[in-house]
């Protein structure tokens, strides 16, 4: 009986000690990185306050082991890093730590960084407030370079799906006629060009301040080619003021090509497409001066504009020109809306080039964008409803890590 009682007592005393040792330890390469890091996970335990975890690392299972870090027992839960560990309930019950370096006090003062493709051995020790140390087993792990960042998988899938939608839409546009709704500003383009022809005044075109790589400048250049074709046909003078030399070079080619296609190569000259200035306000001053002197009958401003938008548009309004503007610059839209006769907002600028040319590649892109937007709208509505009911699944799917 005494022996049974003694055994039970010993068992009772040991259990809390065993429960306080780190358990369910897993060591692995830190995911989604370029190597040089090992991740350690272990179960949360009910420990007395002021206990700490000491994580030690060595290059051999027999040691020596060097301290990598000390952690309070409430820190570093997997729920703090949902990008790597997800959103499950178990993440709040598991600790983690990424070891990237350790202090080898024997050899150097500078911390040693972990090497890639080298095996290290890790041990966690629980230090209780009374000084008692409870080490875990030693676990090996090797840091390797990863080929894919899994935290971006949602981004990758969405990007791939959108890209496929757009490419399929372009493919289908080459085989079927696609509908595009009326855009008032573009319907008025012929009216504006006709007015300029009747008055014998030039048509003025501005691309905005962004370089050739910008989506809005590409859309603007596409629109310019259609306008140039019309001015060639109507025998109207066209003036294109540029801010960027590369955009100017591309615009010259585009306008020349349009005049050639309209059968009026003789009507083209390089002075039609000129570099006004490369600085924002120098450009605005040069163009305003040109507007006041030459009094164009139609001002067409397409592209990405900054503060000069109001300077250009107000001057154009003051000289009585008919003005059509299109920009994806959100901050300049109010200025164009108040001063121009027609304004294309946001993606209407991208739609404009498709609308004017009816080219399959542009129509298809537009359709693909519409499908993408419909999908996003649906997601927004569903996500809002689900989040209101306490379900964050859709929100997590669309979270960028």
């Amino acid at each position: 009986m005494r022996y049974i009682l003694l055994c039970l007592t010993l068992l009772f005393c040991m259990c809390p000690v065993q429960a306080q040792q780190p358990t369910q330890i897993q060591t692995m390469d830190t995911p989604n990185d370029a190597g040089g890091s090992i991740t350690l996970t272990w179960n949360r335990a009910d420990l007395p306050p002021k206990s700490v975890y000491k994580i030690a690392i060595g290059e051999s299972p027999n040691g020596p082991f060097y301290l990598a870090t000390e952690l309070p027992t409430t820190a570093n839960l997997m729920s703090d890093d949902p990008a790597t560990f997800g959103h499950g309930d178990e993440t709040a019950q598991t600790h983690f730590f990424n070891i990237t370096e350790y202090q080898d006090t024997n050899n150097t003062e500078k911390p040693l960084k972990l090497e890639t493709d080298k095996t290290y051995y890790v041990q966690i020790t629980t230090q209780l407030p009374n000084g008692q140390m409870l080490p875990s087993n030693i676990s090996p792990a090797t840091a390797i370079q990863n080929l894919f960042n899994k935290t971006k998988i949602n981004n990758f899938i969405l990007g791939t799906v959108f890209s496929l939608i757009i490419l399929i839409a372009i493919y289908m546009a080459r085989r079927h006629e696609m509908y595009i709704r009326r855009i008032a500003g573009l319907e008025a383009l012929d009216e504006a060009l006709g007015r300029a022809t009747e008055m014998g005044k030039p048509v003025f075109f501005a691309h905005g301040l962004h370089p050739m790589g910008s989506v809005s400048t590409i859309a603007a250049v596409n629109i310019l080619s259609r306008i140039a074709r019309r001015t060639a046909e109507f025998n109207t003078e066209l003036k294109v003021a540029n801010n960027d030399p590369i955009v100017m070079a591309v615009s010259r080619e585009v306008v020349k090509e349009s005049y050639l296609n309209a059968g009026r190569p003789d009507a083209y000259n390089d002075d039609m497409v000129f570099l006004a200035a490369t600085e924002q306000f120098s450009y605005a001053a040069a163009v305003d001066g040109m507007m006041v002197r030459e009094r164009p009958a139609a001002n067409i401003m397409m592209g990405y504009f900054y503060a000069e938008s109001l300077l250009l548009a107000e001057t154009g309004a003051n000289i009585g020109a008919i003005q059509i503007a299109g920009t994806d610059s959100y901050t300049q839209l109010p200025f164009f809306i108040t001063t121009c006769d027609y304004t294309l907002m946001g993606e209407e600028l991208y739609a404009a080039s498709a609308y004017l040319s009816r080219e399959p590649k542009l129509m298809g892109s537009l359709k693909g964008m519409d499908v993408g937007k419909a999908f996003l709208l649906l997601t927004l509505v569903l996500g809002t409803l689900l989040a209101t009911m306490g379900n964050q699944t859709l929100a997590h799917i669309f979270t960028a890590y």
Binding site: N149, I166, V254, Y330, Y350, K373
Partner: protein, 218 residues
């Protein structure tokens, strides 16, 4: 010739564009090193593009001076200003062109502080006058929506200056709400659409469907 003018640029656009997208998802050191290298090349090209801009500008104004086109005197001023700034930059406040540029004294800094800064600031300041005249001319409550816009504009204008606080504490609060809720919603909607447009255009460029950046024609 067609290979150099069309095919090679399209091939480069495809390879570099695809690599640029894939690199974003690959944490491996080789991919990240490649991204760093491409970024360095881009920075070097951007610096040389500045030279292209200078050449274009000078060539344009030289033609104007040669042909004595209308306003050619101003083109002469362009050369004068350009030449002076180059000289001052090379002089570098007496240190010469091979020492780091002095940024707090010397004729270059004087020209910047006393010519460019006032001129640029003045041009920007003209906006204040233009917005006043544009607002008077066009902010009319022609429709209920326009009336809502008008009232919102007045509240935001008052809310952004201390006078709004003097009138009522509700004005800055409501102004902030207008910016943080309806304005944010509208901006986000446009941002989503514009971003999709950017993806579509980028895909067209990468796959060679969009070729306008090469300059005219198919």
């Amino acid at each position: 010739m067609l290979f150099l003018r069309r095919t090679l640029p399209l091939l480069i656009a495809f390879i570099v564009g695809t690599l640029g997208i894939l690199i974003y998802y690959i944490p491996h050191t080789a991919a990240q090193d490649l991204e760093q290298e491409l970024a360095r090349w881009d920075r070097i090209i951007a610096a040389f593009a500045m030279l292209l801009g200078i050449y274009s500008l000078m060539s344009l104004h030289l033609n104007r001076v040669k042909r004595q086109q209308g306003g050619w005197g101003y083109s002469f001023l362009v050369f004068l200003g350009f030449g002076l700034m180059i000289l001052f930059s090379l002089y570098n406040d007496g240190l010469g062109p091979f020492k780091p540029q002095v940024a707090d004294s010397g004729p270059f800094v004087w020209m910047f502080d006393n010519v460019q800064v006032p001129a640029d600031a003045t041009m920007f300041s003209i906006l204040a006058f233009f917005i006043a005249s544009a607002a008077y001319r066009t902010f009319r409550a022609r429709t209920p929506e326009a009336a809502i816009l008008l009232v919102s504009a007045i509240i935001v204008m008052l809310g952004r200056v201390p006078i709004g606080v003097l009138i009522s504490d509700w004005i800055p609060w409501f102004s902030q709400w207008l910016m943080a809720v309806p304005n944010l919603a509208a901006k986000r909607g446009i941002l989503l659409g514009v971003s999709l447009g950017a993806i579509a255009t980028s895909l067209r460029i990468i796959f060679g469907i969009e070729r306008s950046y090469l300059g005219g024609g198919e």
